[in-house]
Every structure is written in C-alpha cells, then in structure tokens.
C-alpha cells in the first residue's frame, strides 16, 4: 500500500516513452435508431445521470445528446460552489446528500475534481438577513449539517481580509458560517462522470441538437435530432437554461423564467483568500480558484432573456461592492466575464421527476443552484428513470407542487440577489 501522498497516478506518464493517452470519451460515431434511455443535454447533470444509470442500474444502452460541446452550458459557466446550508428540511437533505457524494467523487470517478473545503460565509448586513441566517443555521443543525450564525468578532478571526468597519454603506452584522462549503473544478466533475459513463457503454454525441420530442398518446417514443430520429423507451431532459423550450417540444409548460446571470474572474494572483464569501445584500460572491483567480458573481440581470451576453453594469456594481468588502483589491484586475442562463422557479427549488408525458423525465429549474446538486441529481434521476418512481429525496420537487400549493421555499437560501 502506498501512502496517500504518493502521486502514483503520474507514474505511467513519467515512466512511459510514449504518452499513454486514455481516451476519456469515444470519438464521434453514428447514432443508433433505438436506445433504452435518451438524455437530452450533455452537461454535468445529464452525464451524472448517465453514469449512475450505467454503473448502478445496469442500464448501459443510453444515449446522451448534446447540441454543443460536452458540459459547455451552465456546467462551464457556474462559479463552482458546493454547500448544503439551505432553508427547508427537504432542501437541506437533498443538498447534503450531494455534498456527501462530492466528498467521495474524485475516488468514485477516478478523476480528481480538485474538491476543496474552504468554509462558506454568507454575510448579513441587515436584521432581516441576520434572522434568515439564524433560521438556516438552526434548520441545518437540526438536520446534522454544520452551520452556525457568527458575529463580527468570529468573522475577524476566521476571515481577516474582510472589511468589518461600520463606516461603510452596509456594515457586516454577522454571517452564516458553513465549514463544509467547498469549491471544485466544475469541468472535471462532468468529465469524470462522462468518462465513467462512456467506459460503461453510454454513447455521448456532441454537436447533436434535439429538434423535437415524439409523443404518442401521452407516451414519449423518442426524439428528433439534427442527425435523424432516435427512438427510446425513456427520455430525460437536463437542459438548464433552456428547460422550458425543451419541455415545450414535449408538449408541457414549466413555471420557469430564464434570466441571465453574470460572472467574472480576476487575473491570477498568489492565494490570499481561502474562504468563500457571499453577500446577498451586496450581491457579491467570491472565492479564489486553484489557479489563483478570484471567481466572482453578483445578482441576476433584471430581465428575462435567452442570451449569454455580457453586461457592463454588472461588473461596475459587483466591483463597487467587492471593494467595500475587500478594499485592498482596488489595483487587481478583471480578466474575463461571461454569463449563464438561470432557469428560475417561483420557490427557488428545482423541478424534478415525472412529467405529464409518460416515460419522459425532467431535471430542471436549476436557477443558480445547479452545480452543487450535480451528483445527487445524477443519483436520484437515475433511480427515477430506472424504477419509474421518483427517488425519495426529489419527491418534494415534483412539478405538481405548483398546482397543489406545496412549494419548497428556498428563496431565503439563495446566494444571489434576484
């Protein structure tokens, strides 16, 4: 047995004469006419689902259809934060399972996702935010999740870079401190699942857009694609950012509004910020990546739009508030900005499970909280597809809740302003 610190994974690279390429995903090939399961979308959620279907349910005749390149949508655009300090018992249980899966994921997929526990601070600048923070902390603790409401004295010790002065527009009154809060390399999560699924026999087709969903007598039969028709016993959509458009092809509506969410990174500097800092009131969240870049985001844009265009106002507002929190960063520079599309639901919880179309399953409503749920979505959706019944953890997130007045209110736990 080698000790944990021996990087044996590199031996074969260092000691072999020729680069021992290991093709992670198969080269493009023809689509088959029929699969057991077709998954629309090739992002983290879809690939995780394909992974668990193939590895844990023995369903390998699976086809993942991605209109662009692998994991190039919101999987590539999020700010890679993982946490479970939610507000509702349903939400906490669900996201906490995800955190547990994340903690083992590098070993599970044999792909280092650079999972890094940093400690997550949700700053409170108002009485209302302090109340919500305490509420979340109390719910978390009751359900065994490590969270605590802390005050400026503790913040000063744990995160000394923060400006705790009361001579600012919104002084910091306290914070919800969530030690398990983590960051991970977002692409690696998807690639690890993709490789695992592909090696188990799942077909992954990039540059293949779904143009229609074939439904007969209320039962899904397959999909039309830019490369022809594909039949399937079961179909799942996992297309964050265009969930309502895809659902419309299947013939039903979703209570989703799609809103752009902007983010940016700084030029790389030596690590100085180990924590994940979030301020809902100031519309800021920031962490420093393993490359040394500050990864930053703010509030969603104030309108619905199916576009990932960048805006200038976002950067101006965000950086103004950043400098209120971290005044020493005035001379640091923004390297790149981008945007994703957030599928917002009325209650800030996802919409998962069965749909009005038989054998057609949905994984949607991922607003600004999709990345952190990637593993648990894969696990629970695979269960749901394999058994035909929703997994216990996702039952509260069914589509009918908006008709039955059974919403799962998570607005208070959203990181970003909306």
């Amino acid at each position: 047995m080698l000790p944990a610190f021996v990087p044996s994974g590199l031996f074969r690279y260092g000691f072999s004469k020729k680069y021992p390429a290991r093709r992670h995903f198969p080269a493009p090939k023809d689509l088959k006419s029929t699969y057991d399961v077709v998954i629309i979308g090739g992002g983290g959620h879809a690939l995780a689902c394909a992974y668990y279907l193939s590895r844990y349910h023995g369903i390998t005749n699976v086809c993942v259809l991605e209109k662009g390149y692998l994991a190039g949508g919101n999987t590539a655009r999020n700010t890679a934060i993982v946490r479970s300090n939610y507000l509702t018992p349903e939400g906490v249980a669900f996201y906490d399972k995800s955190v547990q899966l994340y903690q083992e994921l590098s070993q599970e997929t044999d792909y280092n996702i650079l999972y890094s526990e940093r400690g997550h601070f949700t700053l409170a600048h108002t009485d209302a935010a302090m109340r919500t923070s305490r509420w979340r902390a109390e719910v978390n603790k009751q359900l065994g999740v490590n969270s605590e409401l802390i005050y400026p004295e503790d913040i000063a010790k744990l995160c000394p870079s923060l400006n705790l002065s009361d001579k600012v527009r919104y002084p910091i009154l306290g914070a919800l401190y969530h030690p398990p809060g983590s960051i991970a390399r977002h692409d690696a999560v998807a690639w690890g699942y993709a490789r695992g699924a592909a090696e188990a026999g799942v077909e992954i087709h990039q540059q293949t857009a779904v143009t229609g969903v074939i439904v007969e007598n209320g039962v899904v039969k397959g999909v039309q694609t830019t490369r022809g028709t594909v039949y399937a016993n079961k179909v799942m959509q996992a297309t964050a950012g265009s969930s309502s458009l895809v659902a419309k092809m299947a013939g039903f509506r979703l209570p989703i509004r799609t809103i752009p969410l902007q983010a940016c990174v700084s030029v790389p500097v030596k690590p100085f910020l180990d924590q994940i800092i979030v301020s809902g009131s100031l519309h800021v969240y920031v962490s420093q990546s393993s490359r040394g870049e500050l990864v930053m985001g703010g509030s969603t844009d104030p309108y619905s739009l199916y576009s990932t265009r960048s805006t200038l106002d976002f950067k101006e507002g965000l950086l103004g508030h950043m400098l209120e929190l971290l005044p020493m960063l005035g001379e640091l520079k923004v390297l790149r900005q981008w945007a994703g599309m957030a599928d917002m639901t009325p209650d800030f919880s996802p919409i998962m499970g069965k749909t009005p179309v038989e054998n057609y399953y949905i994984d949607s409503g991922w607003g600004t909280w999709g990345f952190k749920a990637t593993p648990v979505c894969g696990l629970t959706m695979a269960h749901t597809i394999a058994t035909g019944e929703p997994h216990d953890l996702i039952k509260p997130f069914n589509l009918e809740r908006f008709v039955n007045f059974a919403q799962v209110g998570e607005k208070g736990a959203a990181s970003v302003g909306h």
Binding site: A4, F5, V6, P7, S8, Y13, Y19, A21, R23, H24, F25, P26, A27, L70, P89, E104, S106, D110, Y111, N112, I113, L114, Y115, D127, A128, E138, V139, K141, Q142, S161, W191, S266, V267, P268, V269, K270, S290, R291, R309, S310, T311, L312, K315, E316, L319, G320, L323, E324, P327, M328, L329, G330, E331, K333, V334, L335, R336, Q337, W338, G409
Partner: protein, 979 residues
C-alpha cells in the same frame, strides 16, 4: 544585469529614433532592487531593455525566464508587480521616478528562481496532470492541495493596502461615431466620418496616433509610414468634430454600442450610434523549440523598440519570417547598426519586391523554405544565444538542421491574426480565409464596422481605403450623408502575410504554443488524444488561452493543431468565443467612486443630533434607538415605557405612501387587498393585507379614505416599490378608472403615540377637533399641524392613543421640531424602530416578512379577520381558500414561556414536534410592559389552541416549552388605543 546611467542605457540608439521618449528627462527607478535610469516616455520594459536587462518575469508552470515579446501589452511575459499592483504590463506601463518594480512568480530571486526545478520533472506533469493524480486516497488531495495552490497565481495582493489610496472616477461620453484604434485605418475612418458630418471620438491606446505607421516599414526607404502618419494625424487634429483620446483603451463592446474607455484613473462610458473597430492585428509567434527565450520577440516588437523607444533589440539578429515585414525589419536593424545574421523565410519561393531586393543588396543571407528548428541559450535559459535552422520538408515537418547562427536576438514575423476581440464581443462571426490563412470577420452586426488589418486588409493603400469606407458607412449609419458614396477596397493585400503552418515540433519538445500557460505542442496533442478533441474542450482541459493574455497568441495555433489532429476542416472551425474585457480592467476603475444610493428622511439630521444609532432599511436609514450602543437594551426599555406611560415620537417617513384616485378607487383596492373598501366611510381608515396570486402575504398597511374617490394607501418601507409595481401591472389588465401615484418620497411622517399625545398635538393643531368623538380611533383628517398642511390618521400599531401625521417632505424637520417643542413639558422623547418592534409585539401585530415568509397565507398567519368573504375576488383569494381547504400545516400563534425562568428565544429558533421541524419563533421579546417573554411562532395546527404547549430549541440546543396565549398580549381589550 547591467545598470547604466549613461545616455539612458547602453542599448539606446541615437535620435531621431525614439518617437515616444523625451531624452531631456531622465527617470530613475528600481527593478528587483537594482537601480535603472530611463527617459520620460519609456515603458518599464523599454527602459530595462535599454539597460540590457531582458529577463522580466518567470513563467507560470516551469518558471522559465521570459522577456519582451510584443512591446504593446498583448502578452503575459512582461507582467510585473509595481507596489501593491500585481500583474502590470511592463511593456505598457510608463516609468515614474522612484517606481519600485519586482518580478513575479519566483521562489528565491528572479535571477535564481528555485521554481525552475519543476521543469526537471515535466514528464511527470502531463497536460491536466492534476486531474490524473492526487486523489489516489481520500486524503491525498488534502496533502497536495496546499502545495499545488501555493504554486498558483502570479502577482501578490497586499492585504494591508487600502483602495482609497487611488482615486478613480467615471464619465459619460456621447458621439455619433466612435473609432477604436488610431492606426492608419482608424485615422482614415475618423477623418471620413467627420467629413461626412458626424461627431467623432477616436480612441487610441498608445500615447501617439499612427499605430503601425509609427514603427512598421512600408517601403525600402522607410519613411512612407511616418510621412503618412504625420499627415493623417495633423488632419485629424485640425478637424473640429473629432475628439482624440490617446493612452485610452476601449476594453469591451456591450449591447447598443456601449463602450468602456479607460484613460488614466477615469473610466469613460461611451455611447455612440455607430462604431468603427479599427483595432489592428496581433502578430503571431512561430512555434519551435525554446521559442520563449528572452531575446526572441515579434518582429513588430523589435520595430517598436527601435522606433518608439530608441532601443536596440540586440547586437546580432536572426529574422524568421514568412512575409514582407520580415524584410522591412532586416532593413530597420541594419540602419540601426544591428547585424543581421540571416533572414530565414518559411516560404520556398517568396515573391520578389523592392524590399526583398534591398535586403539582398545589403548582402544579408536569405534562406528560403527553412525554419528555426531550435533556439539555443545561455545562462540557464536567460537569453537566446543562437538558432539552428533546418529545411521544411512537409507541413510542420523539418529535415536535418543545416546551419547554426549565433545571435542574441530572434525576430518572428510569420503572420498575423485579427485583434478581433471587440468584434467578438459584438457578436461578429469569424471564418477562416484559406487565401490569407487568417480568420476574418464575416458577418458584422448592425451599427458596427470593421476596418484595416482586423478586417483582413494589409496593403497600406487598401487599409486607408478600408478606413475611409468604414468611416463613411458608420457616419451614414448614424444619419449623415455629406459627400459622395464610397466603396470598400477590392484588393486587400492579405495574402503572403501569414504562414499557414508556422508550427515545428522538435524531438525534445519545449515548443511553446501558449506562453502564459507553458503549453507545448505535445500538451495540446496529448489533450486531444485524451478525448478533448474540440477547440472548446481542449481549451478547458489544457487551459490553452485561459491565461492573462486570453489566447492572443495561442488561439489560432490551437485551432490549427486540433484541425490537423482530428481531420476537421479549418473552414468549419473558429477560435473560442472572446469575452470582455479586451485587456484586464482594474477593480478600482470599474468601481469608480462607488455610488451606492441611500435615502435619508427629512428628519435624518435630527436623529443624528439626538445620538440615534442608525440602521439600514432597504435604501433608507432609520433610527434604531437613541443613545449609546452600550446602553442599548435599557434605552429601548425606556423608550417603550415612555410611549406606554407618557408620549413618544417616531419618524415613519420611510413607510410607503400611494395616492389612489378615481371613480374605481375603492373597487381597485377591493381587488388588490384582502379586505373590503367600498363601504369604508370618508374620514375613516382600514387595515390592508396584500397577497400574491398564490395567496402568500406580500405587504400590509392602511387605507385612508379622504374622499369618495381618493384613498391614501400606506405600505411597508421595503414593500412599497413592489406594491406600486403590482398595482400598475394588475390595472393594466383590469383597466379600472383609477390613478396610482407613489408619493412615498413626497411625504415625511411621524407617529406621536402615548396617553399624552392628544395633549401635545392640541398645542400645535388648532383646526381639527381632536376630541375622541370628533377624531375617533381609525379616523383620518386633513388639517394643519404647526401651520403645516397635514394628513392625520389615528392608527394603533403600538397600541396607544396616537396620531400618524404626514406632511410634505420639505416640512418634515419643521414638524418634528414643532412636536418635540410642544411635547417638552410632557417629557416627550423620540423612539426608534427597536422600541416600535417591542411595542407592536406586545400588541401581537405582525411585521410582514419577519412574521411571515415566502409561503405564508392569511390563514396560516391567523388573520382570517382580514379577509373579506363577501366580495367576489381579490388577488390570491382563491389560492388561499384552496390551501385552507387542503388543511394548514402550520399556524402563527402568540406565546409566552411555560417556565418563566427560561431564556427568551431568539427570532428563528425552531419549533419542534419530536425531532421534526414544524415551525419557528418569528418574534420574541422580554416585554417591558408585561415583565415576561412574549412572542409569535409558527406551530403545528394541532398545537395552536390557547393553553397548548410546544417545544422550542433555543441557543445551545436546549429545548424549552412555549405556551400558546391569545393576542394581544397587552391591553387585550384595546382600550388604550381607542381613548
């Protein structure tokens, strides 16, 4: 390193070379602790080069020495730390006296960086190595992460620095046409747009207009460029409707031609009708072994050094070229007294013209169809010392080396790529042009125009024609038509500029494709073979193009390599999407002076004078309590007691105020709110509760009927904007005959409350009958208070005799002063939001969003009394009825503690049933009036009857019991407020 104070450095060339420097002003600075002297106008890099200091930084992964590459800030090689500013471009930043500059990313010293040992184990660090290891055991990454993390990043953040040491501000600019780039195309475009009638702003990132005209060589004599530059620039200066901004960078393009332009410490936001992007092109490196050594630079970088800064790039040079510009550089070097060992031309049979002939005449050896196979070095890779040259025998394939040349400088002039970043931001599609071997803009969006070499145009006269055409088209687009119609050039001279494959793998590797990220040819090929076989995936996997220069030199080579490895046709490929900014923007620039709007009431200064602790409420500031923080709890108790026993005054200006007027005003409120208002008498008020379509409580307030067709509606401080929006949105559907005006800011308001309030008010209010019969509880009146026109309401939020008085905002302070003076005899004192919270809780009144949440309906809040059953409709009514029928899952109750010795729960402590969470405490306080804990909490509906007990989990996890009691807690018969 050699420090020389003579003539601005030993490599300095005599005038007239050195367009940008002022030889009369010497400036001394330090680099890595060594003192150097340059001239005013020098950049850090040019001043160091003048002093023969070529190594400026260490590379990201292998810590290889790096030096000047572009001299125009397009690369990451020259990133240095200046004071507390990390990652400064040494080839852009002007030197200043006593500037202290440090290199970046080394362990030990820049000269002897211990980090260079990483290169020794490079075989063990393949592309994406961190994905392939460090997770062998669950704890592996815990061990390795701090080590890997410590290697990340370049410059340093000084945690003690204060942002406010630098001043940044913002300015708005407007014009008809903006021209970005002051090179030949931009100058021609600006002139033509101005002559067509447009108001033009011309933005140039360098200190001087002219672009390549100032340093590139356009003919064998070498004076064509400067002549054209001088001529165009002076015409631009004379043109009254052109504003020139130099040293100004347009860092992005945003929707509707919204352009950030950074100049000095000012961040301009420029809005124009049309924009001409004449941003030029970026010279591309050749890829060969050790192509990253200091001394190896772009041909254009050497020309910038010579012509702009008067600095000799070396003593003996080899020029690697594939175009005419390489020959121009040979002539430039010769004229500057630099020996040219050879011109190596990748092309087997380059076309002959006057410039190539001039080089031949000068006796310089020209080897065609050859390439550099390898660069040699001295001093641990600190400088290039020579090259070996080999014939090209296939695409990217070299034969055996046939010659070696000793040299201390290698110029690369093998091709260009459009500086199309801003065009990308605007959504331009680029396609690969198989004739010029470059990407070129194909579909440019409306109101955006491209001109010059960014638009695949290289021949100088074609560039000028392209600029004129774009300037004319932009002006026309902006609505100007002076002069005659122009056409774009037919011949653009884009061929023979860029070699299709300047990439030459070497058996021993180290041919860098991406200098920022230390990526070699094999890294990209291996990444492709790992399955990341599209440009986008390869970028993410290998990080090619993700460094500080964002792929300016690596993107095209990466596309070529992917194309070759996968067999994809270049014509169907593109570089990855370029995102703003074009060059990194300082946080300080983006933040500016940090405008964060705040709202103050008319009485704000009175609160401060009285020692109030102010607290934010949305954008507003409100007094929390009056006095020292240390005495907070006692002060709040005193303020409460004074209201209960005497008289207090609170500023309620932040409450929302909406005037609802019109024949349908009552019907409108009936639909918007849960209660009914059609029968409300004029001169009376009634509680308002608003719900959304799902029946969730969203706001509350009071409706005051001042006239049959006029209601004054109050809303919560944070809710009023939403309420106003909802009203407008609904009435857009209903089309009732009603007008709604948000008059929140028009009125200041106070609540004077307490048993003595009538007595105090009577002293300053003489035109209203204040007797209990004349102005009863829930009555509303208009009159004057201290001579100020006022709206008065008898409301009961705090549960005492009291009057809310709303006056025009400009009179707020006068009203406050008058009431404070009038109440002096009675011991009136102001009370703040904290005391008001206690007072209202003693009465059991909810605060929306504290005692309700995003899912609370009126029945859960135990407010069925506020829902009218008799009317056909109100927003959310049907939803709430369904939820009531389905059965409630929780109910808001008043409670006190079963055991009086238990601590007061805090807001949001949980209510449990067994281990299940069934609710929470929403408000709780130790009541000064009742001397016991009272509060509101959500409990299970089974436990909601008075006398029921329930579990509360308080601080430290302890469980205590609450007992449900009826509300109000204080004065249950409500006698006091009805006095």
């Amino acid at each position: 390193m050699t420090a020389s104070n003579q003539m601005g450095g030993i490599n300095r060339l005599p005038a007239p070379r050195g367009l940008l420097i002022d030889r009369s002003k010497q400036i001394t600075f330090t680099f890595e602790g060594h003192s150097f002297t340059g001239y005013a106008g020098d950049t850090v890099a040019s001043a160091l080069a003048a002093n023969d200091a070529w190594m400026i930084s260490r590379s990201f992964k292998y810590h290889r020495p790096r030096g000047v590459l572009t001299m125009i800030g397009q690369d990451a090689n020259t990133l240095v730390q200046i004071g507390d500013e990390p990652n400064c471009l040494a080839d852009k930043r002007a030197i200043e006296p006593d500037m202290a500059i440090e290199g970046q990313n080394y362990i030990g010293t820049l000269e002897a960086d211990r980090g260079r040992m990483v290169e020794l184990v490079k075989k063990f660090l393949p592309v994406g190595f961190y994905y392939k290891t460090f997770h062998e055991k669950r704890d592996s990454w815990r061990f390795w992460e701090p080590i890997v993390r410590a290697m990340a990043g370049l410059g340093k953040i000084d945690l003690k620095a204060d942002f406010h040491h630098s001043y940044y501000d913002k300015k708005y600019l407007f014009a008809d046409v903006a021209v970005i780039g002051g090179g030949p195309a931009g100058l021609a475009a600006a002139l033509q747009a101005a002559e067509t009638g447009a108001e033009v702003i011309l933005v140039e990132e360098s200190p001087q207009l002219g672009g390549s005209l100032n340093y590139a060589r356009f003919d064998e004599t070498g004076d064509g460029g400067s002549r054209t530059s001088g001529e165009l620039a002076s015409r631009v200066r004379l043109q009254p409707n052109i504003t020139v901004m130099t040293n100004a960078i347009c860092s992005g393009w945003f929707a509707d031609n919204w352009l950030p332009v950074i100049q000095g410490n000012r961040f301009h936001k420029l809005r124009v009708k049309a924009v001409v992007l004449a941003t030029g092109s970026i010279e591309q490196p050749a890829v060969f072994r050790n192509n990253d050594l200091p001394g190896i630079m772009m041909g254009s970088a050497a020309q910038r050094l010579i012509h702009l800064y008067g600095v000799r790039p070396g003593k003996r040079a080899v020029i690697l070229t594939a175009n005419r510009d390489g020959y121009g550089q040979a002539l430039d070097l010769l004229e500057a007294g630099i020996e040219v060992a050879a011109v190596i031309d990748l092309r087997p049979t380059p076309p002959q013209d006057t410039m190539t002939k001039a080089v031949q005449r000068a006796g310089i050896e020209i080897r065609t169809g050859h390439a550099i196979a390898e660069a040699m070095h001295i001093g641990q890779k600190k400088h290039v010392s020579g090259v070996s040259v080999a014939p090209i025998i296939g695409e990217g394939e070299l034969g055996k080396a046939v010659a070696e040349y000793a040299c201390d400088t290698v110029l690369m002039s093998v091709g260009y790529s459009p500086a199309g970043q801003l065009l990308h931001h605007a959504g331009t599609k680029f396609g690969y042009d198989t004739r010029s071997h470059m990407f070129k803009p194909e579909a440019v969006p409306a109101h955006v125009f491209a001109a010059g070499s960014v638009n695949n145009t290289f021949d100088l006269s074609a560039v000028l024609a392209d600029g004129r055409y774009a300037g004319w088209a932009a002006a026309k687009d902006a609505g100007f038509e002076r002069g005659s119609e122009l056409a774009p050039p037919v011949e653009r001279g884009a061929e023979e500029q860029t070699h299709p494959w300047p990439i030459f793998p070497h058996a021993k590797g180290m041919e860098f494709v991406d200098f920022d990220e230390d990526l070699k040819i094999e890294d990209l090929i291996n990444g492709i073979h790992d399955g990341y076989d599209s440009v986008e995936l390869l970028k993410r996997y290998s990080t090619v193009g993700m460094g500080p220069s964002q792929g300016k030199h690596s993107a095209v080579a990466a596309v070529r390599i992917v194309s070759r490895e996968t067999g994809m046709d270049l014509r169907n490929m593109s570089v990855t999407t370029q995102r703003p900014p074009y060059t990194p923007e300082k946080f300080g620039h983006l933040a500016g002076r940090i405008f964060d709007p705040e709202r103050r009431t008319a009485m704000h200064h009175r609160h401060l004078e009285l020692g109030a602790q102010m607290m934010p409420a949305g954008l507003w500031w409100r007094p929390g309590y009056y006095g020292a923080k240390a005495d907070r709890d006692q002060i709040i108790r005193d303020e409460v007691n004074n209201v209960r026993n005497n008289v207090g005054l609170i500023d309620v200006s932040t409450l929302g105020g909406l005037d609802v007027r019109g024949p349908d005003a009552a019907e409108f409120l009936n639909r918007m709110y849960t209660f009914t208002y059609t029968k409300l008498q004029v001169g009376r008020s009634r509680y308002l509760l608003m719900t959304d379509q799902t029946g969730v409580i969203t706001d509350d307030g009071v409706a005051c009927r001042f006239h049959d067709e006029h209601f004054y509606v109050t809303a919560t401080t944070s809710g009023v904007d939403g309420v106003y929006r909802q009203m407008l949105q609904w009435n857009a559907q209903w089309r009732l005959d009603v007008d709604v005006a948000n008059v929140t800011a028009a009125y200041a308001g106070v609540n004077i409350a307490g048993p003595k309030s009538r007595e105090v008010l009577a002293r300053v209010c003489h035109d209203i009958d204040l007797s209990p019969e004349g102005f009863p509880y829930l009555g509303v009146r208009m009159g004057t208070v201290a001579g100020i026109p006022a709206r008065l309401m008898r409301v009961g939020f705090v549960g005492e005799l009291g009057y809310e008085i709303h006056v025009p905002a400009s009179y707020g302070e006068a009203l406050w002063d008058a009431l404070m003076a009038a109440g002096g005899l009675n011991g009136i004192r102001p009370f703040g939001v904290e005391a008001q919270r206690v007072l209202r809780l003693e009465k059991g009144h909810i605060i929306v969003s504290q005692d309700t949440d995003g899912l609370t309906n009126a029945y859960e809040a135990d407010m069925p009394w506020a829902v009218a059953k008799s009317k056909p409709f109100h927003v959310g009514g049907r939803s709430a009825e369904i939820q009531l029928k389905n059965g409630l899952t929780r109910k808001l109750v008043g409670f006190t503690l079963k055991n009086a010795d238990d601590p007061c729960p805090e807001e949001c402590h949980l209510v449990l049933k067994g281990s299940a969470i069934v609710g929470r405490v929403t408000s709780a306080v130790h009541s000064p009036s009742l001397k016991k804990v009272v509060g509101l909490a959500y409990v299970h509906p089974d436990d909601a009857q008075p006398g029921s007990t329930f579990d509360i989990k308080v601080h430290g996890g302890r469980i205590i019991q609450g007992t449900v009691v009826p509300i109000p807690f204080f004065d249950p018969e409500n006698k006091r407020q009805e006095m």
